[in-house]
Amino acid sequence: MAVAGALVGVLFASQHAAAYGTTYCTGWQPSGGSCVGPEHTLTANIVYDDTGSDALVCDIAQYPGGGYYGGWGCGYGESETCYAGNTLLKGEIYNDSVYWLYMNGTEFYSQGCP
């Protein structure tokens, strides 16, 4: 199961590598695990469960100096937040399932996000 999940995760990671943006924190996260991405003037932050199991995952953004920009958003398989692109922020992802998940975050900092 874990091997299959890893393979799926690698496949999804490869798909991301063919797009425009910045992926971060690609890898296995334990239940309750979180990871923070790099600093950008974010227009979007997206968290993915790359295992394809549509497990519950969450995203939020932090200010570079600490503190949170808004609250958490949690959804099954993915969660996405759009920002105005005028504030330096760091994306953060969180595994809200009871399982280890192969997951990643993606930050955008120049593209449309309605």
């Binding site: 991301h16 797009a19 609250g71 398989g77 993915e78 969660s79 969180y94 809200d96 309605p114």
Partner: protein, 237 residues
């Protein structure tokens, strides 16, 4: 690690998620107009738009972002009355940054499901249902500078599988806290019952295919799906 290349064409997969929006948005920035027009035409053909929307979509076709759908897919209109309802000015929303939404979701096809009178607690300013290519999305306007999107494949959304939660800021999304829960259910579902951590059930009415409530530590949801019996799902693991 910056990623610089572009996927050649939008993909529509069977699972929920906006990962496919990466390619769509990348195309919006980098693809040549001819390729974009082709992609739009392909999606338009496969989405089988409602006749009532076809005329309107023709007038807006030239303004479509690459990959953006041009009309509500018939399967989505069949499952969700809110997407069959005529659009009005009240359905419009101002984009945080103009462009296509996840999976080609088109903001100009959105329908407003909920506009809370007050912005207390975690409640968003606006909840919209936005059709996408092979998927349906919920878009929540949190502030004038922040929106959130969640999408589910048509089949999953038709089973009421699109449920999301907003939680307060903090180091962790603490499960035992107040949360704003919102979800999309198909026609025929009049209410859902959301169970909290303590085991008590909270009946939430469905309006325009959407339910929404703020409550403490929601753990599970159940509802009667016409023709399929009782659907039960965990909200939080």
């Amino acid at each position: 690690m910056p990623i610089t290349s572009v996927s050649s064409a939008p993909r529509v997969a069977s699972t929920a998620g906006s990962r496919r929006s990466l390619a769509l948005r990348a195309a919006a920035v980098l693809a040549v107009s001819a390729a974009a027009s082709g992609a739009v035409a392909t999606l338009s053909n496969s989405s089988r738009p409602l006749a009532s929307e076809a005329n309107a979509s023709r007038s807006t076709a030239s303004r479509l972002a690459p990959g953006e759908i041009s009309a509500v897919p018939a399967a989505e209109a069949t499952a969700f009355a809110i997407l069959r309802a005529p659009r009005t000015a009240a359905d419009d929303f101002r984009s945080i940054r103009p462009g296509a939404g996840p999976l080609g979701a088109n903001p100009s096809l959105a329908r407003t499901a909920l506009r809370p009178a007050t912005h207390d607690g975690l409640a968003p300013l606006l909840v919209s249902v936005v059709p996408a290519g092979g998927a349906v999305c919920l878009r929540l306007l949190i502030t004038s500078r922040e929106s959130r999107w969640w999408c589910a494949a048509e089949a999953a959304a038709s089973r009421g599988a699109l449920t999301v939660a907003l939680l307060p800021a903090g180091p962790l999304p603490n499960q035992r806290t107040r949360q704003f829960v919102v979800g999309l259910v198909p026609d025929g579902v009049r209410s859902v019952t959301i169970t909290s951590f303590g085991g008590s059930g909270h009946k939430v009415p469905v309006r325009r295919n959407v339910y929404a409530t703020e409550m403490f530590a929601p753990t599970a949801i159940s509802f009667e799906l016409p023709g399929r019996g009782t659907v039960r799902a965990r909200i939080r693991d």
